[in-house]
Symmetry: D2
């Protein structure tokens, strides 16, 4: 941490800062410039920058940010590549995950699995437990849903990913699912993250609606620090003042994350935009920006979907998009 004193700060106040640094178990390095005195607080002990802000004469207190270690590219220079059912995420690979928002019934999920398989997709998505803003909305089929998607996936040789909402559901997910998803609302459910750090399957960690990239990598650190090294980050839009789209997809998060971290980052353009006709251009844009994968909602009959049908692609639309993505990939040095 660095404390910048105001021009003309008294010696007494400078001393107060130094004393507080020592009280907190760190070492103080003083450097007097023409206009400002700068004091570094060196060491590993955690200290709260705001305690210094309250001392008179302090102009600014600067925290040297963060503290993710295992998630950092300094800790691991090479890209982490995660492989599930022969589909790869990270490095030169962009993987594809697609399927319906929600598992609705046997017919629907088998039909979706068939379509996915025929389109060349290797991992199907589908929600069994749904986080809904209203307690009166459809909350998903629960375990029954997980069973159905597993059966459908097995028939068509697909891997499965689905969102886990709570610690007690983890054993169920380990039984039926290949990749566990943590939703945006649970990005800082630290108890859940800690439990997921102990499992042996990959976790997709969605970015919280108002999470900074730094907080997101800190959340990933929770999972990594317990021993699970297979974390896939997923950008899905942040909350801003703009109301024309459901969320604002922050595609610049892709190059930012890739510089800071070795973890793969994928994009969910379906939740990120909320509207089918925006999913196609945003998928292409995501790949052009260098994403390591996409997770896209596709439904056999979007107009009949129980949930989020408006953001689900028609099967034909998805096939068309997948073809374009394959044309685009080599331009940006990716394989999809």
């Amino acid at each position: 941490m660095i404390i910048v004193m105001r021009h003309g700060a008294s010696e007494e106040n400078i001393q107060k800062v130094i004393d507080l640094i020592k009280l907190k178990g760190r070492e103080a390095h003083i450097s007097k410039g023409e206009s400002h005195t700068i004091i570094g607080a060196v060491g590993e002990k955690v200290i709260d920058p705001r305690e210094f802000e309250l001392i008179d004469g302090v102009k600014e207190v600067i925290k040297i940010s963060s503290s993710y270690k295992l998630a950092s590219r300094i800790f691991k220079e090479d890209d982490t590549i995660i492989e599930v059912n022969n589909e790869k995420f990270g490095g030169e690979y962009s993987g594809m995950i697609a399927g319906p928002c929600t598992i609705e019934n046997e017919e629907q999920i088998f039909e979706c699995a068939r379509i996915m398989s025929e389109s060349g997709v290797k991992i199907i998505r589908g929600g069994a437990f749904k986080p809904r803003t209203s307690p009166y909305s459809f909350q998903g089929l629960g375990e029954e849903g997980l069973k159905l998607i597993r059966k459908a996936a097995d028939k068509y040789n697909l891997a499965v990913t689905s969102e886990v909402m709570e610690i007690s559901q983890i054993p169920l997910f380990l039984k039926y699912v290949d990749i566990l998803q943590v939703g945006a609302r649970n990005m800082q459910n630290f108890n859940l993250l800690r439990e997921l750090s102990k499992i042996k399957k990959p976790v997709i960690l969605k970015r919280g609606l108002s999470a900074t990239i730094n907080e997101w990598l800190m959340a990933a650190e929770y999972i990594l620090s317990g021993g699970n090294r297979e974390v896939i980050l997923c950008e899905r839009g942040i909350r801003t003042f703009e109301v024309a789209t459901r969320n604002t997809l922050d595609l610049c998060a892709i190059p930012v994350v890739k510089k800071l971290s070795h973890l793969p980052i994928i994009v969910d353009p379906s939740h990120g935009t909320g509207l089918r006709d925006k999913v196609v251009p945003m998928s292409l844009a995501s790949l052009a920006a260098g994403c390591d994968g996409l997770i896209i909602e596709v439904h056999n009959k979007p107009e009949c979907a129980l949930c989020d049908g408006a953001q689900s692609l028609y099967p034909e639309q998805f096939r068309e998009l997948y073809k374009k993505l394959k044309q685009l990939a080599p331009v940006v040095g990716k394989k999809i």
Copy 2:
């Protein structure tokens, strides 16, 4: 839901809208104006406005918002008043909760309890399980902390409130704590909310960092809908672009909530501002805006606090503030 057609929309497209409304199990009411045709979709079935946006000729689709019922002032016209240890929240009453951010050790929590009691406070706060952005930060004393705060509170005749982070912790909290808090990061942890709807103790529901007031009331609805009618809303700042304060305290949420809902709303100026010298003016401002209570961090030795010391008041500062709040209350028709 209301669908507004563009000026000059074709009859065919108008018919498509009507057909979709019927397919979704609602009734269509058409009203043709000079410049726009407006179609109401009447009924209770849930439909997704975005499916209509994708039809040509549709100018705008308007959802008639919300759907909280039990939280609404229409459901219950009178203010809900919640009483704990003779301290009241709601109606003409503004209650006070104060204490340290975190339970650190026996000496500290007993000393804090003594100070609270001597200052006239009847409910003490203190964290035992701490949600920390970094996995490497101090995570709280856990059950040991709850035991300590209970003992200290009993000695000084105080009630206790503390933050519950996870379903499995609920039995512990029921044993030691009088009011359970749900933190901002858990505001949409729907499984947790659902479990809290079954308990018989009041719940403080903090507003999420990027939660709209509508989403916040919907989260309260989760708790109410299971049978727990004692929900206290707590404004604690929202995330904006401004970096001068930790969060932006949205005090206008007070009159907005009081118009929409009968539930009491309190303010946490400590987390809302993040800095001790802002806590005093923002506490006074909250009461002037009509809040039903305050939850304030006070520490016997803020400069030694393990967590958030910079936003904790000194005991003397708190006593001074409490005195001013008592002078201010009658001006705005409140009792504190």
Copy 3:
């Protein structure tokens, strides 16, 4: 405008709404549903929705939004294509504008113009009047700068674009510049927009840092409504809570704008990200999302630039990027 009454609203309050609609010179259409009575206020007279919100029994007041006409795709179905110096923006064309942030001196701007010309660029950018947050920062060369860029452009057969900050500067710009830019901070400087509506040259209208897409199109309407039909919209990032990048580039604005309006939309990835190494992926992503052009900062010696050097590309980087953009364009049906 549509007024939705609460379930159980009194006849008296319904009548109050109807009376106010008539007082304001509009016609009232009433439609009683099972759960809500809905009242449409039909007509062209401007009324303020909030006056209705204040009547008891009113649940919600819904404004049928906006009111840009000339900017709307309903007014003009075909894409507007704007051509300057054989470079086209709009429809199937993506145009390129590149050059330094600021005109610094004769040598620099001639060198930049030479590089641009050799790279195949036809329009050069360069600031002469700089909007600077601090009054003590370099404010640009003024008219001298405009003269220099004109001379350099003429030598290399380039068109010129530069930012106009104030009404009194317009005559100067008409003399030296081919496309006038309105900066983000001036997007709602309505007096300036009105004057620009009278000129005969294209205007690039940058999106304000906190402007909704609707407000942006309304600002374009100011220019269109005075008779200037050559408006190019430019997305350059919005202000959000994220601090890892200077602004959050909202690429989904591209398909949103293209659905609502016939005007071309280009992207400024240099200001939108603020960092050179983010400019390349975001340029590719913009084109993949369907943008009608790019405006990119390139400097002959970025590390010596007087302003924004960190976001300026090296000449070689730019040439490489331009090549990739040309490979990407046909995949998304664009010509660049």
Copy 4:
């Protein structure tokens, strides 16, 4: 500026940083800690932090913020008190400005002036040139409006404030108006600010919708730096994701500004909330937070107002509020 190198950064990269600091005309101070090497760039020359971010091995670059001087409390320790027509803003004084949103006609403005005068107000507000989002909305009476408000004010012994939108209007305002207002949309219209720095009348500078407090003080610096020392800052709400209110009134800006600057800060709860029934609690909250004044919209017949009637108080409501403000003021050490 301070450059923090990553743990393990190479000597070569450290040297690159040092070289760049020297190239930019500053001095480098190196301080090697256990975990990080920290390099201070001492001196007055402006440098762009991002150029350092692009060097390998750089962890973080920290700008020592700002650079407003005349606006800073270090430059002038005592509160600036601005007095107009015996009404004072700053220090222990909270001044009052009230009146209609817009000057509509002679009868209305005289009636408003009479009401203001009888209520004890000494400064009337009223818009003559209106910044409107749509080019088709009422744009104000212009000079005719200024003449009318001056006549009405003179009759009732009031001072006048009104919003200036453009440089060419300044002479008109100097003739008719006592305090000039700069609207939120013009907060960074630097050319306008520079002209206002040369006049001899106070200027109310409203905070931009997405302006940080630092940018706002930098905008004030533009006015101060040209010689006009009478700047009144005005908080009027910032743009956030919340849609329940027009803007989010950031009342914590009051204590933040008062710590950083000697300038008076007032609040506009009418634009800050957009709804009449929120104006009363937010006015009281503003004063409780320590504001140096209020600017409130009051209309003789709000339901007939041409503009923003929904946020205008009724005369009786205003009188009641003013009375309460006078009761509240002594509690927080203010005179109103």
